[in-house]
Subunit: 160 residues, 12 copies
C-alpha cells in the first residue's frame, strides 16, 4: 500500500529513508537506555546525573518524533515497534539492576559516541539526495555532541 506520495524521486528517497529509519531506531533505543539508567543509578552523584539523563531522554524523544514524521513526509512508513528496536538497535546497553554513578557516566558517553559516529556517516550520505533530511541530522548531531561533552567532562579523570 503506497498511501503517502513523496516529493523526492526514488533513489534519493531510498537513501534518505534508510538514514531516517536507522536514526529512529537509535533514538528510541537511546531514550529507553537513558530512562533505565535514570531509574537505576546509585551513588553520591545520584541526583545530578538522574536529572541530566532526563534531558537526554527529552532530546531523544523529541528528535525521534521529528525523524519519524520526516520519514512519513517522504512517503516511507517509519518502524518504531518494540521488536524492531530490540532487533535493530546496536547501541551498547546496561545490565539490569542498580548501576553505580561512575559506570552510568561511562556508559552514556559510550552510547552517545556510538550514535554520533553513525550520524556523521548519514550526514555525508544525505547531502546530495535530500538536504532537508541532512539539515535535520545535523541539528540532531549538534545536540547529541553537546550532551556527550557534558557527560565526558563529568567523566574526568577517565579510568582508561
Amino acid at each position: 500500500m503506497t498511501a503517502v506520495k513523496s516529493t523526492l524521486p526514488e533513489p534519493a528517497r531510498k537513501v534518505a529513508g534508510d538514514a531516517l529509519q536507522s536514526t529512529l531506531v537509535d533514538l528510541l533505543g537511546l531514550s529507553l537506555i537513558a530512562k533505565q539508567m535514570h531509574w537505576n543509578i546509585v551513588g553520591p552523584r545520584f541526583r545530578s546525573i538522574h536529572l541530566q539523563l532526563d534531558e537526554v531522554v527529552a532530546t531523544a524523544r523529541t528528535y525521534a518524533d521529528t525523524v519519524a514524521e520526516r520519514s512519513s513526509a517522504l512517503g516511507l512508513p517509519p518502524d518504531g515497534r518494540p521488536e524492531t528496536i530490540a532487533a535493530a538497535c546496536t547501541l551498547p546497553g546496561p545490565k539490569d539492576g542498580w548501576v553505580r554513578d561512575t559506570d552510568v557516566v561511562q556508559l552514556i558517553v559510550d552510547v552517545l559516541e556510538a550514535a554520533i559516529g553513525r550520524l556523521r556517516e548519514r550526514i555525508a550520505a544525505t547531502a546530495e539526495p535530500d538536504p532537508v533530511t541532512q539539515d535535520l541530522l545535523i541539528s540532531l548531531t549538534a545536540e547529541l555532541e553537546k550532551q556527550r561533552w557534558m557527560f565526558d567532562a563529568e567523566n574526568w579523570p577517565r579510568n582508561d
Copy 2:
C-alpha cells in the same frame, strides 16, 4: 548488589515489585505502539486520531516513570530496556507500514483492553501487601479506561 533498602517487609515487597515490573513493561510497550500508529495512520480521520494517540503516549510515559520510580522506592530495580520490552510485552501490536484509521482505532481498543484486564488483577493482588502501590495502579486504570472509552465510542458501529 542491594543498593536501596525497602520500607516494606519481604513478601509484600515481592508482590508489589512484580506488579510494578509487569506494569512498566506494558506501559513502555503501549507508548511505543501508540507512537507507531501516530506516525503510520492514514485515512480521512488522520488528524483527529493522530492527536488523540499522542495523549495515550503522554499518559503511558508519565505513568511508566511513576511506576518505575515506585519500584525503585521499594528497593527493586525496574527493568525497561528494549530487549526486556520486546521479550516480556504481550500486548497485541501493529504490523509495519501504513495503517488505515479504522484499523488503528480497533487496534488501540484491543491494546487498552488487554492492559486494563491485567491491571485489574494486579489491583486485587496488591491491596493487602501495599496499598500505596495499589493506589497508583487504580489511578492508572482510571486513565486507561477513559482512553479506552473514547476510542471505543469512536469505533462505533463496530464491525464485530
Copy 3:
C-alpha cells in the same frame, strides 16, 4: 443500543453505574444551586461568600465531568439532562429571589452535608465491585468535606 463495551462484569458494572449516575445528578444540582446563590446573595459578607460559592461551582462542574465520563467508560450512558436533574435531585434548594448572606451559608452547609452523606454510602457500596470508581468518590468526598468545613466555620456561632 450498546455502543460502548465495559471492562467490568455485569453485577459490578450495575453497582458502579448507579453510584455514578446519582452522584452526577447531585453534582449538577449542586452546581446550579451554588450559582443561584452566587447571584442572589445580599448582605455585608456578599463579596466573600460570592467568591467562595464559585469555588463550589468549579468543584462540582469538574467532578460532574469526571463522574459522567467514568460512567461512559463503564459502558453506561450518563444522564444529566435538565428534566432528569429536576426530577432526581433530592438536595435542599433555595427559594427564588434575594437571599441574605447568613441564610446562604446555612443553606450551603445543609446541601453539602446531604451530598456527603449520600457519597459515604456509595463509597462503601463500590469498594468491592469497582475500586476505581470508589477512588473517584473518595476524592470527591474529600473536596466536599473541605468546602463544608469552610462554610461551617464561617457559620459560627450557629443559630441552632
Copy 4:
C-alpha cells in the same frame, strides 16, 4: 424584599429583566444539553464533536453568568434553579442513552437555531429600554451564530 436598587426606571427594567431571565434559562439549558451530548456521543467523529461541544458549554456558561449578573445589576434576582430550567426551557433536547454523531450535529444545530431566533426578538425588544442589555444580547448572538455555522457546515450534506 427589594435588596438591590436599579438604575433603570420601571417599565424599562421590566422589559430588560424578562429578556435576561428567559435568556438565562436558555443558556443553562443549552449548557446541560451540550454536556449531555459531550458524554453520550458515539461514532467515527466522536473526538472532533466531543471537543467542539465543550466550546459550546464554555460559551453558554460564561454568558449565563454575565446575563444573570446583569439581571442582578438591574435589581432583578435571576432564577437558574434546576426546577426553573426544567419547567421554562423550551429548547429541543436529546433522548437519554448513546447518540450517534450525525444525530448530535443535527440536534445541536436545531437547539442553537431555536435559541438564536428567540434572542433576535429580545434584541429588538430591548433596544429602546436598555441599550446596555441589548449590547450584551448582541454579543451573545454573534457567538451562538458562529457556533451554529460551524455545526451546520459540519452537517453538510444535510438529510433534509
Copy 5:
C-alpha cells in the same frame, strides 16, 4: 493648533467630544476617590472592600485611557490634568481621614450611581452623532452597573 484631523464631521465631533471629556473627568475622579477609600478604610470588612475597591480603580483607569484616546482619535485633545479634575468633577467624595467600612460602601454606591446617571444621558446623546463613541460608553456603563450592584448587595440592609 489642529494637530490631529478627525474622521467625523463637525457637529457630531462636538457632541462626541463633550461626552468623552466629561466621562474622562468622572473616571479620573472615580479612580482617585476609590484609591483614597482603599487606603483609609477601617472596620471588620477592611480586607474584602479594600480588594474590591482596587477592581473599581482598575476599571476606572482602563476606561479613562480608552476614553481619552478615543477623544484624541476624534481630533479633540483630552484634558485630564489635576486642576481640571478638581474643578470639573461633580462626583460626591470622602472627607479626609479614616472611613469606616459601612460608610465606604454607602459612599461608593452613591459615587457610582452619580456616574452611571450621567453616562446614560451621554449614551442617548451620542447614538446618532457617533455610534462608535456610544458603543464605548455602553460597555463602560455595563461595568460600572455591575460594580454598583456588588456594593449595593453588600450594602444590605440599607440604613435609608
Copy 6:
C-alpha cells in the same frame, strides 16, 4: 450549492453580506500593504514605525478572520482570494521598492482614512438589517480610528 443556512431573512442577509465582503477585501488589502511598508521602510524612524505597522497588520488579520467567519455564519461564503483582493481593493497603496519613513506615515494615514470612511457607510447601512454585524463593524472602526490617530499625531507637522 447552499451549504450553510442563514438565521437572517433574505434582504437583510444581502445587505449584511455585502458590507462584510467589502470589509474583508479592505482588511486583507490593508494587511498586505502594511506588511509591505513594514519590510521596505527606511529612515531614522525605521524601528518605531516598523513595529507600529505590525500592530496594524495584527488588527487587520484578526478582524479579517472575524468578518469572514461572520459572513459564513450568515450563509454567505466569503471571498478572500488573491485575485479578488487585487481586483476589488480600492485602497491607495505604495509603489515597489524602499519607502522613506515620512512617506510611510502619510501613506498609512491615507489608507486608514479611506477604509474608515467606507466603514462608516456600512455601519449606517447595517443598523437595521443586522445589529450583530453592525456591532462588529463598530468595534473595527474604533480600532482603525485609534491607529489612524497615532499615525496622524506622528505625522505632525503635516506637509499639506
Copy 7:
C-alpha cells in the same frame, strides 16, 4: 534608490534575491488560499480540517516575514503587494463559494506540492551563492513537506 547595502557581492545577491522574491509570492498566496478554504469548507470533517488549515496559515505567514526580511537584509526590497501576488502567484487556487472537505484536502495537497517543487529548485540554486538563504529555504521546505504529508495521509484512499 539604493537604501540598504548588501553583504553579498552582486551575482550572488541577484540569485538569492530572485529565490526569495518568488518564495515570498508563493507564501503570501498560500496564506490567502488556506484562509479561503478555512472559511469556506463544508462537510463532516469541517472542524478537523478547519483547524489544520490555520496551522498552514501560521506557517506561511511566519516564513513570509522571515523571507521578506532576509531579502531586505540582502539589500533587495521585497514586493508583497496584492497586485504582485495576483500577477505572479502560480499556485493552483480554489473557486469561490463553499468547498466540500474532500476537495479541500486534495486542493491543499496540490498547492503544497507545487510550492515544494519550486522550493527544491531554489535550494539547489542558492547553495553556492548564499548558504544562509539556502538554509532558510531548507527549513521552510521541511515544514511544508510535513504539512503536505499530513493532508496526504488524510487524503487516503485517493480518488486518482
Copy 8:
C-alpha cells in the same frame, strides 16, 4: 467549644483525628529539620542536596496544610504550635551547626524512614473508620517513599 461539626460518627472521628494530628506534627517537624539542613550543609555535594532538601520542605508543607485542613473538616482542631511540635515530634534531628553532606544524606534517610513507618501504621488504622483520610495518608506515603529512595540511592555505598 464545638465550632465545626463532623460528617463522621464519633469513634471513627477519633481514630482519624489522632492519625491526622500525629501526622501533622511529623510533617511540621520534617519541614523544619529539612530547612535546617538546607541552611547548614557543607561539602562537595552542597548544591545538589541543598536543592533536593527544598523539595522535601515543599512536600512537607503542602501535606501539612492538607492534613490540618482535613482534621478541621472532621471537626477536630489541629495543633501545629511550636511548643506542640517540640514536645510531640519524635523524629531524629540534627545537632546545631554545620553538617557535612554525607551526614545530611544519612540523617534525612533516617528521618524519612521513621516518618514512613509511622504512616504505614496509620494507613492500616484508618482504612475502616475513614477511607478519605486513609487515601490522603497513602498519597503522602508515596511521596515520602519516593524522596527516601532518592536520598538512599544517593547514600550508596552505605557506611553501615
Copy 9:
C-alpha cells in the same frame, strides 16, 4: 478618630508622615501629568515617547500605592483626593491641548527634576526618625532618576 495605631513614637511619626504625604501628592500629580502628555503628544517621535510616558505612569502609580500604604501603616491616613492634589501639588504642568514632542521631553525632565529635588530633602529628613520610610524614598528616587536620565539623554542637544 485614631483608628490605626503606629509602631513609631510621636515625633518620628510626624516627620515620616509629612514626608510620605507630600511624596504621595507629587506621585499622583506626576501620574496625571504623564498621562496627559501620553494622550496629547504630537510629532515624529510620538510613538517612542508615548510608550515611555506610560512607564513613568506605571512607576508613579505603583509607588503612590506603596507610599500611601506606608503612611497608613504608620497610623497616618493618607490624602490623595483630587482637590488635595490640585491644591498641594507644586510640580510644573502642561497647558491643555496638543503638545509637540520636543516640548514634552523638556517638560517631563523639568517635572522629574522638581520631584527628585524634593525627595532628596526627605531622604535626609527621615534617616533618623524612620529608616524604613527612608529606604522606600531611596528606592523611589533611584527609579525617578533613571527615568530622568532617559528623557534627558533623549533631550540632547538641549535648547538651553
Copy 10:
C-alpha cells in the same frame, strides 16, 4: 568546625549574627502561629482572614529563608530546629482549639507588634557593623508593618 569563612571582621559578625538568629526564631514562630490560626479560625469573617493569614505565612517563610541564608553567608550556622523555636520564641501565641475571628485579629496584631518592636532594635544595632544585614531587616520591617496595619484596620473599633 568553622566550615564557612566570613567576609566581616569578628565583632561586627557577632552583632549581625545575633540579630539574624533571633529574627529567624521570630519568623519561624510567626509562620507556625499564623498557620495555626489559618486552620482554627471560626466566625463570619472566616474566609477573609483565613486567606489573609496565608499571606503572613508566605512573608514569614520567605524572609526566614533569606535571614538564615544571610547568617550562613556571614559564617554563622543558623538554628531553626523545633526545639530552638519552642525555647527561644517569645512571641505571644494562641491556645489550642478553635479561635473566633475577632480574637484571631487581635492576636495577630499583638504578635506582629511584638516582632516589629524587636526588629526596630536590631535595625539600630546593625547599622554600623553590617549595613547589608540592616538593609534586609528594614525590608522585613516594612512588610510586617504593612501586615500589621491591615489587621489593625480590620480590628476597628478596638475593644480596648
Copy 11:
C-alpha cells in the same frame, strides 16, 4: 591536559576549533560594545536605539554560549577571558563618553559588517571539515545580517 575527547578527526577539529574561537571573541566583543552604546547614547532617537541595542546584546550572548559550548563539545577549550577579548578582538569600537544617536547607528553598522565578513569566510572554511559547526555559523550570520539591515535602514540617508 586533554580532558574532553572529540568526535572529529584531528585536521577537521583544528579548522572547526579556530573558526569557533575567533567567532567567540567577536561575539563577546560585540556584546560589550553594544552594551557600551546602550548606556552612552544621547539624542532624540535615544529610546528606540537603546532598546534595539539590547536585542543585539541578547543575540551576541546567546550565540557566544552556543559557540563556546560547541568548541568544548569538539574537545577544544574555548577562551573568553577579558584579556583574550581585548587582545584578539579586531572589531571597530567606540570612544569613551557620550555618543550621539546618529554616530551609534553608523558604528553598529560598521561593527556588524566587520563581523559578518569574517563569518562568511568561516562558513566556507568549515563546510567540509564539520557541517555541524558550519550550520551554527550560518544561523548566526542570518541573525547578524538581519540586525545589520535594521540599523542600516535606520541609517538612511547615509552621510557617505
Copy 12:
C-alpha cells in the same frame, strides 16, 4: 560634551561615579570569568557547578546593567569596553584550558571575596554623598556574599 545633567552636586557626584565605574569593571570581569569557567570545567561535579556558575553570570550581568545606568543617571558616562575591562579589572582569573572542578570552586571563592572586599569600601564611601548609590551597592553585596557562601560551603573541607 556634557550631554546628561546630574541631580547631584559635584563632589558627591565624583565619589558616587568612581564607585560605580570600578564596580562596573568588576562585574563585567566577573561575568566573563564565570562564563569561562562555565565552559571549561571538568570533573565529577561538572553539572552542578556548571549550572551554579550561570547564576553568578546572571547576577553579574543584571547588576552591571543597573550600575552602568545609575552612572548615566548621575551624568557620568560609564565605560565597559573590552580594553577598559582588561586594563582595569584586578580580580584574579583562570588560566586558559580545562579547569578541574575543585579548582573552579576555589577560584570563584577567591574572585568573589576580592569583589566583596572592594564593595564594602565603596559602601562606606558613598553613604554620605549619595545614599541611592549606596543602597544599590548594598543589594549587590548581599547577592555576592550569598553566592560566595554557597561556593565556600561546597569548598569544604578546604585545602588551606
